[in-house]
Symmetry: C2
Subunit: 366 residues, 2 copies
């Protein structure tokens, strides 16, 4: 077992029950031993569902299934397993998805197309259909409105801590609750899946359109939950030792700002310098330059921890590296990149690249 | 000092003199101690020059200078230093380039615009103009037609071995020689520079156009030298332990094949699996899927070391991982990715991602 990330939150948040949601976790021994690896969520009849998925062109069978079912807009069950992603598994993989949906639908008394499935883990190994299907009847009696944390734990792969987030929002004078949980990912994976469900149990007048003005506070709360989960995913980046916020301002456009931020955040040279706490800001300049977005060297400014480092085409006068190096010893680092040419801005979160990243990913399958 | 890469060639090749070229190396103490860090090449009058440069939008002052001078098409001198890239150094950086060109031009008796300058090393530190300019008169008497290896050594940064390559070609019945040398780079750097010079000393009838049919054999030889140098750069990738050839075939287009190969070759997850000799071919599938090029999972085939692994949307029947794992213990690994949908092909070379990468790049500045 890997140690818990030094960037982990102190504890899993208190996720209060949501009317119309029951969850259960179970150990069916797909790959891991001594831990749960299957999660079932039961949703009340008429629950609505939306989803977005990986753009990978080699997406797994569960992603293909979910995309297909999503047009119905309704969900009664969600089944997630860890340990095997059921990707690049051909016809057998599709059959496992269909059999899992059918078995779950029988237990929940619904159409199989209202059962959404997600799988995370190793690619290209035959999925353990029989283990999952045999487990389902045993999972049913475990369903509970309280099992958010154990559900979040069951979907972990290389995660070192379970990720949950919660918020409440006011819709039309009625308080509604949002709970979310997630598992680690990097890269553009073959299984990336975001599912958003509404149980429709809150006693406000129905909301028929996402443009409904009464959703203002709900949007804020949903953003907060998603950003919280996204940051926890970064905090559990494989081997991560530092949580890094990159704030890009005054780029030509918001899109340019985002691309510049992502180029910095994904640069192995920047991430390695961060792991060593090295204020090697030249690598930030390099990453800005390769992002392919408009840059004027003489207007570009860089700061770390709010300390100005470079401006007007060179280091700031009398730049003193010592306080920056001291700041970079910390776990939380903010990098500011101001392009000085427009009004586009973006925030990107990333982590450092460490020896532990190599260890975890060299041994993940075994 | 880092140990020499285990993938290094046995020795620096024999680079015979080329009429019209003299080289010298010198230690002027820009950053390193106990080694040369300045290289001067003198070219005969009327030598022609061509070049390509980084696409970075934060390119260094020497790149800007070279781009500007290239329109003249003639070169008498090339000055390269290591240890400081003279990038993001503002007006001071531009002045250093101009002063270096002027000082070299005086010594060589030419126009400053015929002096090409390249700098590699740390970004954003004030360049050591006075050290370079003071050194130049001492370098002049060292110029020799034999100094290829010492010149190649002087331009090294994180390189663990100097990189040289040579070939001969027949133009119009006359044998001409091509010598080349290079230094390591990754990423899209702020200093990437390729300069190609012809001293015009060979007694064949003049070649006025790159379309001249007499250049057929020269093209072959130039390709060979450039590929040899490119592969040596990969073999000296920071911390590299394995040299990996990715052969992409039957993609929709050559461009698609190249992009798929580069996505695999740059994936930290693939590169980490390679470091451990783990036949985790699912990560190759993942990288293919995220390249954004046309893929049909059912036509995609993957092999490692010529051993078929996956085809028709899943692992090959009775796939046995043992011989693949054995093959992957080696230093040289070939991955085959056949898209089965077109005629596009490309070959990409890469290396694995190791602990040593982190060590080298975490400590490079110090």
């Amino acid at each position: 077992m890997t140690d818990i990330s030094p960037l982990a939150p102190e504890r899993f948040p208190e996720l209060a029950p949501i009317a119309g949601v029951r969850l259960a976790a179970f150990a069916c021994g797909i790959r891991y031993t001594g831990r749960d690896d299957l999660m079932l969520a039961e949703l009340a009849p008429d629950s609505a569902i939306a989803g977005v998925f990986t753009r990978s062109l080699t997406a797994g069978a569960p992603v293909v299934w979910c995309r297909d079912c999503l047009s119905g807009g309704k969900a009664r069950g969600i089944v997630v397993n860890s340990g095997n992603s059921n990707t690049f598994t051909g016809r057998a993989g599709r059959e496992v998805v269909e059999a899992t949906a059918a078995a779950t639908a029988r237990l929940l008394g619904c159409d199989p197309k209202q059962v959404f499935i997600s799988s995370t883990g190793v690619i290209g190994e035959p999925p353990a259909a029989e283990k999952i299907i045999a487990a389902l009847p045993q999972v049913m009696p475990l369903l509970s409105a309280e099992s958010w944390e154990s559900a979040a734990r069951a979907i972990m792969t290389t995660d070192t801590f379970p990720k949950g987030a919660t918020a409440t929002a006011n819709i039309d004078g009625v308080e509604v609750r949002l709970n979310g949980f997630a598992t680690v990912d990097g890269d553009t994976s073959t299984s990336d899946t975001v599912l958003l469900c509404a149980t429709q149990q809150a006693p406000h007048r129905p909301v028929a359109s996402p443009a409904d003005r009464r959703l203002g506070d709900f949007r804020r709360a949903l953003d907060a939950v998603m950003i919280d989960l996204a940051q926890q995913i970064v905090r559990d980046g494989e081997g991560a030792g530092k949580f890094v916020t990159i704030e890009v301002t005054r780029a030509a456009t918001a899109r340019a700002a985002r691309r510049i931020g992502l180029t910095i955040g994904n640069s192995p040279l920047v991430k390695t310098a961060l792991s060593a706490g090295d204020p090697n800001w030249g690598r930030i300049v390099m990453a800005v330059g390769r992002a392919g977005e408009k840059v004027d060297q003489n207007r570009l400014s860089i700061s770390i921890g709010g300390i100005p480092i470079a401006a007007e085409g060179g280091p700031v006068p009398n730049y003193d590296e010592a306080p920056v190096a001291e700041y970079m010893k910390g776990r939380e680092i903010t990098i500011g990149v101001d392009l000085g040419i427009g009004r586009g801005k973006a925030t990107v979160w990333t982590c450092d690249l460490t020896h532990e990243y190599i260890d975890i990913n060299a041994s993940y399958r075994s």
